[in-house]
């Protein structure tokens, strides 16, 4: 009796650490797997996939051919984490880009993390620094300006995370920049103004900017004036900042229209704000006389609808949904090719074109509903 009792006791003493150890090792196993998937540095290629036995294992049957590329593609994306830090989630651009990421990656088993700084530069910087701790594979950022997020972007790159910058490039270059060519957009704006406000008109035009510090605005301004400076018949009678604020744009425009009843054209910098500009024109009863042009991410609600109802005569469109698809493609390329972080330094400018009532199509814009 005595021996059996002590035997049981011994067995129990042995069993406890064994159990504990096995629990630990199970845990670390699973951790190790996700770790490998999360930060594997080697590009996934056909050859590497073949070496790993994935290709050879496909059964050769008469029921069609297996696609050897499939595994490469899916395994490069499964379990990956892609983070997205825009200026503010509520903007049309951020909505479209985030949705593109979700549509493309979530079905493949990748995770999309979004952060909403709500136009707070500091909060955005914090969000990026926090994300570094979470070790995502890619961080997609939309810079508020060229400096503020430079340090966090550099930290992220130093931590081995790919950084894709959208629309606004930071002074800190990273793996990929994707964005509208704002200088070109500015040129398109300027050309439209020149077209419409030539010899037979007063030649007076007004420009409604966002905040003067926004680099996108600076680039657009450069583009506009590079055109207008060649056309002395065009007189810029007003060039004011409305800070991306529709009511401010409305007030600015109302005043300009009072001072210059013979105004010929207005170029606004963003359709999110220029609803207010157009409203001022309408209130002044000058909708038919003043040429109104703005820029748009091609959101139906703010863009094409206002072309259709005549609020805008034209807009320079950089299609946000298309940008989102390009973003998704680039992220896929990064995750598959696994270049050294920062080595690509690739610049991708998305196309811009002018949309007027004449060339307006039902698919010129994207709608929130279609994004799902």
């Amino acid at each position: 009796m005595h021996t059996s009792k002590s035997f049981v006791r011994c067995a129990a003493l042995v069993a406890v650490p064994v159990l504990a150890l096995s629990a630990c090792s199970t845990g670390s196993d699973s951790g190790g797997t996700s770790e490998g998937a999360g930060s594997g540095d080697n590009p996934v290629t056909l050859e590497s996939a073949d070496r790993a036995g994935t290709l050879a294992d496909y059964p050769k049957t008469d029921q069609g051919q297996p696609d050897p590329r499939q595994a490469v593609y899916y395994s490069s994306l499964k379990g990956k984490k892609i983070a997205f830090v825009p200026n503010a989630m509520k903007t049309d651009l951020a909505t479209a880009w985030a949705q593109a990421l979700r549509d493309e990656f979530e079905p493949l088993g990748a995770e999309i993390l979004t952060r909403d700084p709500a136009f707070d530069t500091n909060a955005g910087a914090q969000a990026i620094t926090q994300l570094i701790g979470q070790k995502p594979d890619v961080i997609v950022v939309q810079n508020p300006d060229v400096t503020s997020w430079a340090t966090p972007i550099k930290q992220a790159q130093d931590a081995g995370i790919y950084v894709v910058q959208m629309n606004m490039g930071s002074q800190q270059t990273s793996d990929v920049f994707i964005g509208a060519d704002y200088v070109n957009i500015g040129r398109l704006l300027g050309e439209q103004l020149v077209d419409r406000c030539g010899k037979s008109t007063s030649g007076k035009v007004a420009i409604v900017q966002g905040p003067l510090t926004a680099s996108a605005g600076l680039y657009m301004t450069q583009g506009i004036y590079s055109v207008l400076n060649e056309h002395p018949e065009i007189k810029v009678v007003s060039d004011q900042a409305a800070d991306w604020d529709a009511s401010k744009a409305n007030a600015v425009t109302t005043t300009v229209l009072k001072q210059h009843a013979d105004l010929c054209g207005i170029a606004g910098y963003w359709d999110g704000m220029d609803g207010g500009t157009a409203e001022a024109v309408k209130q002044a009863g000058l909708q038919d006389k003043v040429f109104m042009i703005t820029t748009s991410g091609a959101w139906q609600t703010l863009g094409c609808n206002l072309i259709a109802n005549g609020s805008y005569d034209a807009m320079v469109v950089s299609h946000a949904k298309e940008q989102g698809q390009q973003l998704a493609t680039v992220v896929k390329a990064l995750l598959q090719q696994r270049p050294a972080v920062g080595s690509w330094n690739m610049q991708i400018y998305t196309k811009s074109h002018v949309v007027t009532k004449a060339n307006l199509q039902s698919d010129s814009c994207w709608s929130t509903a279609e994004l799902g």
Partner: protein
């Protein structure tokens, strides 16, 4: 019944209910609420963010905390002086843009930029300070206007120089150290915050200007009346706040280098929320740096964690608003009700079962049988003395006693008609004794143990003892020194009746009847004071037993007299001498025949005895009714008992009528007479003793013969 009693005994012995009240008396209890809130916030953040406790994460976020913490510090300095600074956010933005301009456009070196920015922002603070401190404008409106003006200036600067700022920043080691470097493993801004917090804490809690700030915040008028330069100090708080905010702005510039228009937007609300969440009163006068830092961490963690969780953009301001409201509500309620709660919960009665009461009825065979032997007394100093608690006689037979006015009076022998103030102490002296050098040693409630020499020099012997280990209440100060006696070697043993109440609230100690008191020894040879015996139920009279190694002491509410050995083979032991007196023993003094006189200041009553075993009843009573209506022993009767060391009651003198000597607190035998004192009496009484030694004098019998001083000395 037995079980219930045992349960009650156990409950009141082991559940330290009195600690609740003692905790509430602590000044740091104010800090407890924000601290709990902080712990909850950290727990929430830790639970929501898996990597929260990794050093990497904490390192990253502490950098952002640095700047915000400095802004909170600035806000705190203004708020505790009774002001408010809404312009911190704008000033922060100004500091940021000026730092960027000086570095990027003007090309100044960093070591020059930093002070320049601080000076400019301190200048903004100085404008606030001049308007609010000297011109007495309202802080709220003034700083609100400054918020708008300074924000406009910052925006104008941004607009004017925005193109020049783009990409103009030239890296320098010092600038990078400020923005992205570390000092001693901490992000630079956090290290700077830590340093500033320590300095600010020292200045505010220890420095003159800090006390001035708190005084002004508490009551501007009183501070002015006390001679504090109110205007200048108020002005300086805004200057200091401006300087701190400027520093934070420069750090922000170094970290992000961005001149966006939204810099520091709504920082004033965040900082205000942090200050209030830390438990700093918006009304001013109360607050500390640790509180502000706790508030800063709370607010920072909330915003940071919500951001990390990807909450939608409205969540953070909404939650912060809720926190601000909650904190303000708690602050208001807490300030308003703390003293009320304290008054309600502080009195915490204990379970004190009393032994059966001995028979006292007139004509019975009991040793305590009532008589009228105190009915005929001589009265000295009638209506000229208030509260002679413990009269004592010197070698010459002069009478000394303490009075309510805080004096020790001398009544000159032999007729005691001439009464003079012997010495002014300041508080009502209770127990007196005469030492070897004929000095008078007195127990003075609220002050401690004092000595008055023959030359009337008042000397403080001690006013503190060693603090009880683990006690919540700081019991190192003497609150209610009651009676004393002096051992032959000069050591003074004295009782402190209770450590939980001052003498003005002794009535609540009756309700508690817990072992709140102690016996303390003061050794004049080493000038040290040590507590020798704790947890006594209102220890009162102390009298040397005569063997040089033990003393008798009375525990008033427990109605018992015990013996304590402070030396010899029984050192440290306590033994009951009379465990079941019919009344409440007060002072004990020597009789000429080697026995002891015990003054009974009141009589036990069946109702009070019952109540002592019903702590819950006494607690309800203490909470609900006025002090003068509380249940009470019978103090309307006087009694003096003579006992010996064996615990036998040898003689009893009663004043059953209660007219002449109710509530006897002390008796002294001298030359065949018994002198009677009472805490609430207006005279000293005297009755002749039969069979007493007509030559007996206390000091002479205790300290030995010396040539008798003349009566008129």
């Amino acid at each position: 019944m037995q079980v219930t009693a045992s349960l009650a005994r156990l409950r009141y012995k082991y559940v330290p209910e009195h600690l609740v009240g003692e905790l509430l008396t602590k000044r740091w209890i104010d800090t407890a609420i924000p601290f709990i809130f902080l712990v909850a916030t950290v727990a929430w953040a830790g639970a929501s963010v898996p990597e929260f406790f990794s050093s990497n994460y904490l390192g990253l976020v502490s950098r952002d905390l640095g700047e915000f913490g400095i802004v909170v510090l600035a806000m705190m300095i203004v708020v505790i002086a009774g002001g408010i600074d809404l312009s911190v956010g704008s000033n922060f933005a100004l500091g940021n843009i000026i730092a960027l301009l000086l570095i990027g456009v003007a090309g100044w070196p960093v070591w020059l930029v930093l002070p320049a920015v601080v000076v400019v922002c301190a200048g903004v603070g100085a404008v606030n300070g001049l308007l609010i401190g000297y011109l007495r404008l309202r802080a709220f409106i003034t700083t609100l206007v400054m918020l708008i003006i300074v924000r406009a200036i910052a925006d104008l600067l941004v607009l004017k120089f925005s193109t020049q700022l783009l990409g103009s920043e030239e890296p320098s080691f010092l600038w990078d150290l400020l923005g992205t470097g570390t000092i001693a493993g901490m992000p630079t801004s956090f290290a700077i915050l830590l340093l500033l917090a320590v300095v600010a804490h020292l200045v505010i809690s220890r420095g003159r200007i800090g006390w001035h700030l708190l005084a002004i915040g508490g009551s501007r008028r009183s501070a002015y009346n006390a001679g504090i330069p109110v205007r200048r100090t108020v002005c300086l708080t805004y200057v200091a706040a401006g300087a701190l905010v400027g520093l934070a702005g420069a750090l922000y510039a170094a970290r992000l280098g961005g001149a966006g228009g939204g810099t520091g937007l709504s920082y004033e609300i965040s900082a205000l929320t942090a200050v209030v969440a830390g438990g700093i009163s918006l009304g001013g006068g109360r607050g500390s740096v640790p509180k502000a830092m706790m508030g800063a961490i709370i607010v920072f963690l909330i915003t940071n964690t919500l951001l990390r969780l990807g909450a939608s953009s409205g969540a953070s301001p909404m939650l912060l608003g809720a926190v601000l409201l909650l904190a303000v509500a708690v602050d208001v309620k807490w300030n308003k009700n703390r003293s009320k709660i304290l008054a309600k919960v502080y009195v915490s009665p204990a379970y004190l079962p009393m032994p059966p009461m001995p028979e006292t009825s007139r004509g019975s065979q009991s040793a305590y049988a009532v008589n009228d032997r105190l009915a005929q007394v001589d009265k000295f100093g009638l209506d000229r003395l208030e509260g002679p608690e413990d009269p004592v006689l010197d070698r010459a037979g002069n009478l000394y006693c303490g009075t309510r006015q805080g004096d020790i009076m001398r009544l000159l022998a032999p007729d005691y008609e001439h009464i003079e103030v012997f010495a002014h102490i300041g508080s009502h002296p209770l127990g007196l004794a005469i030492d070897r050098d004929d000095s008078i040693v007195a127990c003075v409630p609220g002050m401690g143990l004092y000595k008055v020499t023959k030359d009337r020099e008042v000397i403080r012997l001690t006013d503190e003892t060693n603090r009880t280990r683990w006690s919540v209440l700081d019991d190192s100060r003497l609150r209610l020194a009651d009676d004393l006696d002096i051992a032959p070697d000069g050591r003074i043993f004295f009782s402190e009746a209770t450590t939980r109440f001052g003498i003005e609230r002794w009535i609540y100690d009756v309700q508690e009847s817990r072992g709140n008191g102690r016996i303390i020894c003061y050794d004049p040879s080493t000038k040290t004071t040590r507590t020798v015996l704790r947890n006594l139920v209102f220890p009162n009279g102390i009298c040397m037993a005569g063997d040089g190694e033990s003393l008798l002491f009375a525990e008033t509410w427990a109605s018992r007299v015990s013996r304590y050995w402070f030396d010899g083979p029984n050192k440290g032991q306590v033994a009951a001498v009379v465990p079941d007196l019919p009344g409440l023993p007060d002072n004990i003094n020597r009789a000429s025949d080697g026995n002891f006189w015990v003054a009974l200041t009141g009589m036990r009553t069946p109702s009070m005895d019952l109540a002592l075993s019903m702590p819950g009843f006494r607690r309800r009573m203490a909470r609900r009714i006025a002090p003068d209506e509380l249940l009470f022993p019978n103090l309307n009767i006087g009694c003096i008992a003579k006992i010996n060391l064996a615990g036998e009651v040898l003689d009893v003198l009663w004043d059953a009528s209660g007219v002449d000597h109710p509530a006897v607190t002390s008796v002294r035998e001298d030359r065949g007479y018994l002198y009677i004192g009472g805490l609430y009496n207006n005279r000293i009484g005297r009755i002749p003793l039969r069979d007493a030694d007509p030559e007996f004098n206390g000091p002479v019998s205790y300290w030995g013969e010396r040539e008798r001083q003349s009566v008129t000395a």
